[in-house]
Subunit: 149 residues, 2 copies
């Protein structure tokens, strides 16, 4: 693909607020590393009907816009991510979960705590306060679990 691609426009459905917006330690690099850190997503008023039934799912995906990024040209396409830190192997950004990405879309599996009106409370936070949320999806074993991991 070499032709100039079209721009696709997302609009935040809500925003993350950490229960403690100024933690003493920086956010974990993966949600699973901070299982006890709690936060909320407050969804836009016009989208609250979209939350119906979410509270039946103990685990949900947050799809976020990792907004605190340098311009695209300054985001590295290769780096040594956490997964290969022990060996120092350089990896491409698409072979990593590194937060600086061509499209800075984050994917976070969090434990759902409660849904109250527009407020979705969850635990397991690797996000900074104010992160825009693009989507919420339930975690489903039949599509999110490898057949042979």
């Amino acid at each position: 693909m070499t032709a100039s691609p079209p721009a696709l426009v997302c609009t935040p459905i809500g925003v993350v607020a950490l229960d403690d917006p100024h933690p003493a330690t920086p956010p974990a690099s993966q949600a699973a590393d901070a299982p006890d850190v709690t936060a909320t997503v407050t969804v836009r008023d016009d989208l609250v009907p979209g939350l119906l039934g979410l509270d039946r799912y103990p685990w949900v995906w947050l799809v976020t816009w990792l907004h605190d990024q340098p311009p695209p040209a300054e985001r590295p396409l290769q780096m040594v991510p956490r997964a290969t830190a022990a060996t120092g192997e350089v990896q491409g950004v698409f072979a990593s979960r590194f937060p600086l990405r061509p499209n800075p879309i984050g994917l976070h599996l969090v434990r759902l705590l409660a849904v109250t009106g527009p407020v979705v409370a969850f635990a397991g936070v690797d996000l900074v306060d104010g992160t825009p949320v693009l989507d919420i999806k339930p975690w489903f074993a039949d599509c999110d679990l490898p057949a042979d991991p």
Copy 2:
């Protein structure tokens, strides 16, 4: 959140091509339902360095833009999705994996077959030919597996 939210602009990193672009049956509604259907993502030339090391991972996420959508106002916020089809329970879009969404972002766990230059071959396709891809990420047990599903 009631103020008008900012627009966030994504640019496709590549495009999906089905090996058989005109299958006799429609695409599966989840990748896990079509494990033998194969396809490729051809990544933009300028982003090929970002694929370095991807071939070590047997399972990867494709984050896509589900492009074949009606305008946002015509996308339902509630419907009876597949997960509750048996009971007929209405669910919110964020409690479903329904493809019509406020931000039409798709999340697909696929089996990686090969990475050859800009071409990422994979199996397990619930996508239509020509779907734009926004991101590729490795599946990691330590962040993508619920602690107690």
